[in-house]
Amino acid sequence: MVTKTAAQSATPTTTPTADGARQTTYREALREAHRDALKRDPRVFLMGEDVGRYGGSFAVSLGLLEEFGPERIRDAPLSESAFTGAGIGAALGGMRPIVEIMTVNFSLLALDQILNNAATLLHMSGGQLAVPLVVRMTTGAGRQLAAQHSHSLEGWYAHIPGLRVLAPATIEDARGMLWPALEDPDPVLIFEHGSLYNLAGTLPDGAAEVDISRAAIRRVGSDVTVIAYSGGLGKALAAADLLAAEGIQAEVIDLRVLRPLDDDTILGSVRRTHQVVIVDEGWRSGGLSAEIAARIAEQAFYDLDAPIERVCGAEVPIPYAKHMEEAALPQPADIVAAARRAVAPNG
């Protein structure tokens, strides 16, 4: 893990290794992606609360103001609706804005703009007004931030036609999703899980762009498909290790794209393993996990050999106390238990 010092440093802290790959963090990978995009395309600018002098509330944009100036790294007032809408207008006006909203809970103040304008204008205008906007925001719990800074509402956005919803869960995706999102002619929402910013790892040399239309199989297995995304991926992989020790080979899918869902990858895996566990930090009722389960039931029903299992966030506002917060979130042990139920004959 990377220390606070590294996180707050304005200068790149990535360490090259012998084969050209670099040790870096999720946060630095995001910053590098921004720097790269700002250099590549003069139409790109970043706008949001405290993205400039403060360096971003999660230090993603630290140092970018000094490098690119206040016109392109714009500190906005605490007016989520106004600056998100301004991003939409700027996109209509030919720019490629990146709007940063501090957390998904705050994005509700901009929901009108995201739904009623960004996702709607193209269709409502009969194809005249495309909105090439990128909105980034933090999501998820795990940092004892309680009930107004911790929720996982990305599933709500994945409900909306016209939006592409991305959830980078790896350093490579943190580095590689921004540029293709900016190249997308339609609005793209990127959800960054708050617990991932300090994730440390290796970035292959030259990694710059990733496919933003496909899910990824992060671990191949034969006995049960575990579908996760964002902050849930690490937990799913940890669960897969535990399951392997019991002789259960879990296949772990990282959704990466929450809308449009990559049905092919999901269904292809289910057709091989016949058992499914869906991990979603969001609430169960009417959530993303429900959508995935429904698609599997619709399209792979006759391949299922056990009821679909879901491991979701407890249906409570996220509490502050550490033990309570942990109890409210999917944990590797919960995923292991669900996988056992799905696989074990007498589960």
């Binding site: 809408g85 207008g89 030919g94 193209l122 269709h123 009969g126 036609p161 997308d184 239309s213």
Partner: protein, 369 residues
Amino acid sequence: MTAIDKSHGTRHSVASQPPRRRASATEPSATTPTTLAPKPQTMTTATEPADLLRQMMRIRRFEEKCAELYSDTKIRGFLHLCIGEEATAVGVMSALAPSDAVISTYREHGHALARGLSMDSIMAEMFGKVTGCSRGRGGSMHLFDAERRFYGGNGIVAGGLPVALGLALADRMNARPNVTACLFGDGAMAEGEFHESANLAALWKLPVLFCCENNGYAMGTALARTHAETDLAARAASYGMVSWAVDGMDVEAVAEATRRAVAQIRGGGGPCFLELRTYRFRAHSMYDPDRYRDKSEIEQWKRADPIPALSGPLLSSGTLTEADLRRWSAEIDAEIEAAITAADQGELEPVADLTRFVTSEANPTGGPW
């Protein structure tokens, strides 16, 4: 003329006795605009009074026909008419350049016609035809024309304001000398989006013209019943932008005020705010029983009807004749009939195209999603 200079903004009123309406006991202002100096340069041409009059007549007659077509079930959905408010539409649009941008509300037929969208394309839109200006996907509330930089009727009160800021920001960042005009009603000034947008536009000195069409009612709720401070121009001025209250029943006053504001904005002075005091003669929408205001109030305002208010002087001065008006009426009626015929004959979009334009057809990863 009153002019209040404050450290953070300037408020002007072009009406010597600005109508200060309180609840229903209001008096329409019959004042003419005071000459404001300096006279700004404008890029518009259609500002002759006779032309303004004809445009207002055209909007009036078009909307009357819309009401009839709605009753006859040819037009569906919501239908909000601006009858009585034609002077604001025609006055504002007359002062904008083709390269300027416009964002409007759901009461936007007048804005769209005055901005130059063809009557055919608007009528076809309301008939739900693919020949409509939004291919039948928008209807009365959502008229769009990207070519004329008409960024739509927005059905969310104040929802278009933040977008206007972005359009203005993009122009500014690209050093294009354009102004973005956003039109909204008095109801929008109770929305957070107005205040966020006013603040941000003034803060960043964006080239935005805020045009508040204050018709005294947010749907059925009178201004004083929802606003603690009913002097809207004064409130806008508090954000540090120049703002004027204008007699919105006087098309020449509206045009003049808009010209001045646009000149100031184009000159880099940041956003301006116009409170256009006007009145709608008809109910909020077709389904509105109009129980919230006295008939006498409506009658009183009708005496300030912007059309006779302008045609009267033009006739008496000999600039126009009754024959001119009759000829225009006949031409307008013919244009409307042609638009109805064309809309009737227009094709419906194939249902197979339902999910077109959810995402861009040029999107490299396919779609729609």
